[in-house]
Amino acid sequence: MKKSTLVLRIVVLTYVAALIALPLGFVFDRALAHGLSAFIRALRDPAMDDAMLLTLKVVLIAVPLNVLFGVGVSLWIVRHPSRFTKILDVLIDVPLAISPIIVGLILELAYAQSGWFGAAFARWGWHVMFSLPAIVLASVFVSLPLVSRQVIPLLREVGTHQEQTAQSLGAGPVRVFFTITMRSITWATAYGVSLTMARVIGEYGAVLIVSGNIALLTQTLTLNIGANFENFNNYQGFVGASLLSLASLVLLTFLSIARYRERKRHDYLV
């Protein structure tokens, strides 16, 4: 083997190990620093458990919303293109370029009581800010394009030949959608769903502003970790961090399975 190849390999492996693997290992090292029984005791921290439950709730609401929107809007953009869908296509990607702190700020400007709609909403007894709806709104914002970005290019690539064949053989539109269209975008959608989940679970800056960050009420798990560090409760913080790291490892596995299956589907067709 050539020497330059080996040198490059070692440089890259060292860089990735130091930058990514070391911090990941360090999280688990710290979480288990006082032994397994201390770790299990720390898992029963009421503020953290509450935060975990809230994060779970947000995932269960925000992810289905964005998946439904992402798949629907992709079908609209690809299959019924118009001047309007071109604007839509650009608009969906906008959240990716916006800092999470700015996301939090603009949601507050629009929906806080002092903001545009807050006063009107408050009159109906509806408080968006510093509650679950605000956290869902922030989560939906930051993860908005993650499904459609996976699905749009794939829908363009597969075209409509199979659908036309199915239709000419007598399948109705609903049957065509579920047996042909949905089947070709399943793994791309799964990839997008995993990315969306990761983003929703991990969101910090935007949720920090819109939630009010109140322990036992509006604190998600990421906020709880941050708060533990600010209160010099580092060990509890690392226990929370280890749970989120575990979740992200599971999601990473999903991502690589989805990527593998999508590639296989692609190779099979070509």
């Binding site: 608009l91 700015i102 949601l107 910090y204 990421t222 906020l223 992200s248 991502l255």
Partner: protein, 268 residues
């Protein structure tokens, strides 16, 4: 063609379309409109004043510097990593490929507190880089690595060896082959990755906020500055700085894309 398509794909009912438009309006458009009106509430002069206060300028400088350094390091390391993933073969390569995506999946706050503990005042490695541009840059390097790798990797995969082989048989050294044949083909993708990394770095918060210590004029990045303005009810000033940061991020994305396209066209 389009008439055929319309027949095949179930027509999307007008109700679903208006639901989608309402959704994107509530989530993205109305808040963005609120941002613009708030930023210019006091007129253009006030906007400019808010953006150019000493604290704001210092924060913007630090943000730009660390984003530039992080993106620059990862432009080189992203290319190197993509190269190793595509052109090299060794055991554990799949693990490396998966690990690259970790910064996408790991919550930024987890990265933030981990870097703070690893390289902070109680560092087990006895390195304290909190409150410095180095610490901020390290956090940004972590967050942006997948952008540069994943931009280059697919292009490198689709590149055929024939042109490189031709250059080599004509007597070009490996380095010359890389510089004159491989690199020009990769350049647009490399620059797209740099642009994505830079834009992401400008807005990064969770992974940076712990290691930076947020000292105004010294180690405060723009996102932290916007947060401190917003939490002290200075919404107009916060909106102004936010607009400035947004323009920088979007400008970087567009510029890097255009430069990449122009260079790519010239090389062909």
């Amino acid at each position: 063609m389009s008439r055929v398509l319309r027949r095949v794909t179930p027509v999307i009912p007008i109700g679903a379309k208006s639901l989608a438009v309402t959704y994107i309006s509530v989530v993205v458009l109305i808040p963005l409109a609120a941002l613009v009106t708030n930023a210019f509430r006091g007129g253009l002069g006030q906007f400019w004043h808010n953006v150019t206060t000493l604290e704001s300028i210092d924060a913007l400088k630090l943000t730009l510097l660390s984003a530039f350094l992080g993106a620059a390091v990862n432009t080189v390391m992203g290319l190197a990593t993509a190269w190793v993933l595509v052109r090299d073969r060794f055991k554990g390569q799949g693990l490396l490929n998966t690990l690259i995506d970790l910064p996408f999946a790991l919550p930024t706050v987890v990265a933030g507190v981990t870097f703070y503990t690893l390289y902070g005042p109680l560092s087990p490695l006895h390195v304290n880089i909190t409150g410095t541009w180095i610490g901020i840059t390290v956090a940004i390097m972590f967050v942006t690595l997948p952008f540069t790798v994943r931009s280059v990797q697919p292009v490198l995969e689709s590149l055929t060896f024939s042109a490189e082989a031709a250059a080599a048989t004509l007597g070009a050294s490996p380095f010359r082959v890389f510089r004159t044949v491989t690199m020009p083909a990769l350049l647009p993708a490399v620059l797209t990755g740099t642009g994505l990394a830079f834009a992401r770095a400008l807005g990064e918060y969770g992974s940076v906020v712990f290691i930076s210590n947020n000292l105004p004029y010294r180690s405060e990045i723009s996102s932290s500055y916007i947060y401190s303005l917003a939490s002290s009810n200075q919404n107009v000033a916060a909106a102004s700085v936010a607009i400035a940061l947004l323009i920088l991020a979007l400008g970087a994305l567009v510029t890097f894309n255009l430069v990449g396209q122009v260079l790519g066209r010239r090389s062909r």
